[in-house]
Every structure is written in C-alpha cells, then in structure tokens.
C-alpha cells in the first residue's frame, strides 16, 4: 500500500514537512506552524484527513454491534447525526477515537488514532465472536476525507452548496452535496473549536476536491494547514487528542469522560474496567496548565516533565504547545486526583530548571466562531485584503450574487458565477 497521502500530489507550493499519522505520511506543517494556525483561527484552512479509517456497518444488528464497539451509548442517536466516542481496550485504556454516524439503514464509523487496518481487524474479530447479523465494510481505500476549519468555513460551503449549509448543526451531516458534479458528504465536526467540516468523497476525486477547494477558496485566502496546527487548536480547546493525552491515559475516565460512562449501557469492550473504575475511583485526572508569565516564552514545557507540590511528585505533562493566541506555553498533565483542581500553582521540574505552572479551566481560549453570526457576518467584512478585492468588484459574495438557494444539490451555477467574478 502506498504510504503517502494522495493529497501529497498537491504539496510543494509551500514548505511542507510530512510525518506519520495512523500509518500514512501526511503534512505536519504546510507553511509555518503559526501561519497554519492563524488560518484555522481567523479564516479558513484546508486539512488533509486522508488518514482516517472509514467503515460501514450494516445489517439487522448494526446498532448493537457498533454499540458493543463504542464507549458511548449510541441508542437514540438520530438519523443524520454523529457522536464522537472511543473504542476501548479491555483494560479501559483507549484503543482509538471514532466518530459514528447514523445513516438510517447503516452506521458509518470514522476512526483515528491507530492504522485503519488495526481497527478493521478488531471490528472483524468482534464480528466473528458473537454471531452478529451484521457486516463491516472497510471503505478506507474507496472513500477519503478533507477538512475545512475556521470561523468562515461555513461561508465557503454556503457558496458551494447554498445557504442551507448554515443549518447543519454541530455533529450533524448531510449527503448529496456536489462540487463540479463530484458528490460529497459533509460532516460538521468543529474539531478545532471553530466551524469545522469533514468532506467525504470517493477516493479517486479527493485530489480534485482539494484543488477545487483551494481554487474556489482563493477569495477567502484559504490555505492548507498541517496536523500540527490542528493538534494545537484541539489542545487550546481542550478537545481530547487521540495521538497525545489519550494515548498516555491508562484509563478512559482519566480524560474527564465520566459523563459518558453509563452503567445502563449494554456490554461493550472495556466495560468491566470502566465499572471497576467507577466503583474504586481513578488515581489521576487530566488538567490544563499554563506556564506563569515570569518564566518567559523561551522556556518550553516538554512532555514527560514532572509536576511537584511541596517537593512531592503529583503528575506528568502529556501534551503541550505554545499558544499563539495566549502568547504563552500551555499544557495538559495527568495529576493525582487530590491535586487536580483549578487555580493552583505547582512546580514543573524540567531539565532546564524549575518553573511555576498554574492549573486552569478548560478551555484555554475563546473561539472566534462563537462571535460569528452566519446570517449577518462575512469574511469580506473582516479582512482588509478581502475588503479591497470586494470594493474593487473582484469578489462578489454569494449573498450579493444572483444565485439559486437550494439546500444541498450542486448549486454549480452559483459557483461558476462566483468564479467569473474573481477571474
């Protein structure tokens, strides 16, 4: 199997660095980490999610089978909606992260955190043990994903698919969208805390889709962002990162997932370990940290560094990054539950000396997307460059163009009309 992302064919315009993610080489950074990050936080970024696993579970027992695989209770998940969850190991640690979609007559499972082949093997083993009346189809090699993230991602999609796109709420999806005749399914995931979408497309069209989104998105100054910037955004929002803190967790409940754990749910992988932890309690819990300002920005927090209170070791850093919004280092640590409270100063002992860190509430930042009202705001009202283009008549936002407003199918005439205006 080719281990390089298909979208790598489009790399080369920037200073990309590539690295492994779930068995595939994808862009870690496209331009610089800060530039990638600012596109996500202030505009629109295009992201390569071709490494996601993708499985279709169908048959009369599709729901009980998926429910058996997942930590969350999927009963009651409405058609057209998504639920993020984990697949656990029997010891209660996290095997992988999943996003489950109820597609009516089947369930779609998107996986992240381990190679899709390993996920398929685990699912297949489960399917074989209990005589489920269901089948699992691995569509990882036939379907692929790109992401649009940023406070104005909705506006580009509105241009492509009509204003109905604004009605797709957090953790909903819609099939049957088109871009130049290419069908795609749109999932609203908000993985960075900003408006965030996954576009699922037949794998043979994923490169075309990527190029077309870059082309159509020029007016929005769209740029690709690598997964390092996406990871940073997740950290700032305190959305669990399967490649970082979740990988370091010895038990899923350490990740502040207590509200997900249900004793009423039917049997699932890892249930015994979860119930044991509910009875006995957990020993450590994830908490946010900021490096106190007197340390200076040249001091970096590193994963694996220990935290101390009165000289007693109380925990360990498991994720960290420099926040360009806060202009300081932020981190996550697993702390002894007796110490895992907000508003406290602890000593961080690193190789470069000791520094003070403060425990803080989730999330670290306030998202630009929470200030935006799609029916009132526009990217073209916000940026000087786009404003200049707009004033010069080279950009006509959809609301000003003479467009049909269908909910999902195509709206190709709108897009072509739009492209003519920026030509």
């Amino acid at each position: 199997m080719n281990k390089l992302s298909k979208i790598a064919a489009c790399y080369g315009n920037n200073n990309e660095t590539i690295d492994w993610r779930d068995g595939l080489l994808v862009a870690n950074v496209h331009d610089t980490l800060e530039k990638d990050y600012k596109k996500i936080r202030k505009g629109i970024a295009l992201a390569d999610y071709t490494y996601l696993g993708h499985f279709r579970v169908q048959g009369p027992d599709a729901l009980p089978l998926v429910n058996r695989l997942c930590f969350s209770n999927l009963k009651g998940l409405p058609n057209g909606c998504l639920i993020p969850s984990y697949v656990l190991n029997e010891d209660g640690s996290v095997f992988c992260e999943v996003l489950v979609a109820n597609c009516g007559d089947y369930y779609r499972v998107l996986s992240e955190g381990v190679e899709p082949d390993s996920v398929y093997a685990l699912f297949g083993a489960e399917l074989a043990t209990a005589g489920w009346r269901a089948s699992i189809v691995d569509e990882t090699r036939s379907q692929s994903f790109v992401g649009l993230d940023g406070p104005y991602a909705w506006e580009l999609l509105k241009l492509l698919s009509g204003p109905g796109i604004i009605g797709i709420r957090h953790l909903e999806f819609a099939s049957g969208n088109q871009l130049d005749g290419v069908l795609f399914t749109l999932y609203r995931t908000d993985k960075t805390g900003e408006y965030g979408y996954l576009l699922q497309v037949d794998v043979e069209y994923v490169v075309d889709l990527w190029r077309q989104l870059l082309d159509v998105g020029r007016a929005f100054e769209i740029r690709p962002a690598g997964y390092a910037a996406l990871d940073l955004c997740k950290l700032e929002n305190r959305f669990t990162n399967i490649h970082r803190e979740a990988r370091s967790a010895t038990h899923v409940l350490e990740l502040n997932t207590r509200i997900v754990a249900s004793r009423k749910k039917e049997d699932y992988i890892g249930r015994a370990a979860v119930e044991n932890a509910l009875d006995e309690g957990i020993r450590r819990r994830l908490i946010g940290l900021v490096l106190e300002e007197d340390a200076g920005n040249e001091v970096a927090i590193e994963c694996g560094e220990q935290l101390y209170a009165d000289g007693v070791e109380i925990g360990e850093v498991v994720n960290r990054a420099f926040s360009f919004t806060l202009n300081r280092w932020i981190a996550l640590a697993f702390l002894d539950v007796d110490y895992a409270y907000v508003g406290l100063n602890y000593r961080l002992g690193g190789q470069r000396g000791d520094y003070t860190v403060k425990t803080v509430s989730a999330p670290f930042i306030f998202n630009e997307s929470l200030r935006i009202r799609p029916r009132q705001d526009s990217y073209f009202d916000k940026t000087d460059r786009a404003r200049t283009e707009y004033d010069a008549g080279r950009i006509v936002p959809l609301r000003s163009a003479n467009c049909r407003h269908n909910r999902f199918p195509g709206v190709l005439a709108d897009r072509r009309a739009y492209r003519r205006t920026i030509a």
Partner: protein
C-alpha cells in the same frame, strides 16, 4: 499537602459541588454530582445545554452565590470549571 494548598482545594471543591448541585436541580439533569467532571463542557458537548438552560444558569448563580453573570457572557462560560472561576473571582 500543606495547609494553604489544602484550604484552597477545599474552597474550590465547595464551589464546584454547589455549582453542580444548582445545575442538576435547576435544569433537572439526569446526573449525580459524581458523574460530572469539573471540566465537563456545558454547551455543544458534555451536558449539551441550550440557550434556555443558559438563562437558568444565570438565575441559578444569582440565587446560590449572589453573583450576577451578564447575559452576553454566558457563552464564554464553557465548562463547570469556568462557572466556578466566575463565582470564585466574585466571592
């Protein structure tokens, strides 16, 4: 653990428990205090509250703690812990 740290933690725990009790009572949540982590999100995920619940939170904080949370600030209160931060800063 030194006494100062112990006192700070106890103070924080009290606020967190009261905030959780108030949300459970006022919003009729089907959870116990122990089932809600301190960093549980209020809106979007976690407790999945809506804008009507947001108004109830404002009333609840006023009732339990005597603090007034401006309506425009409610959606910057993202988690149980951020509500506790707000209360603690004004207590």
């Amino acid at each position: 653990m030194n006494q100062d740290l112990r006192d700070k933690i106890e103070q924080r725990k009290k606020i967190l428990i009261t905030v959780k009790e108030e949300l459970i009572d006022r919003l009729q949540l089907q959870y116990s205090i122990d089932e809600i982590d301190d960093d549980t999100f209020l809106f979007g995920g976690g407790l999945s509250l809506d804008s009507i619940s947001a108004a109830d939170i404002i009333v609840g904080l006023q009732f339990r703690f005597g603090v007034t949370l401006p309506e425009e600030k409610i959606f910057s209160m993202r988690t149980i812990n951020t509500l506790a931060d707000f209360v603690q800063a004004r207590s």
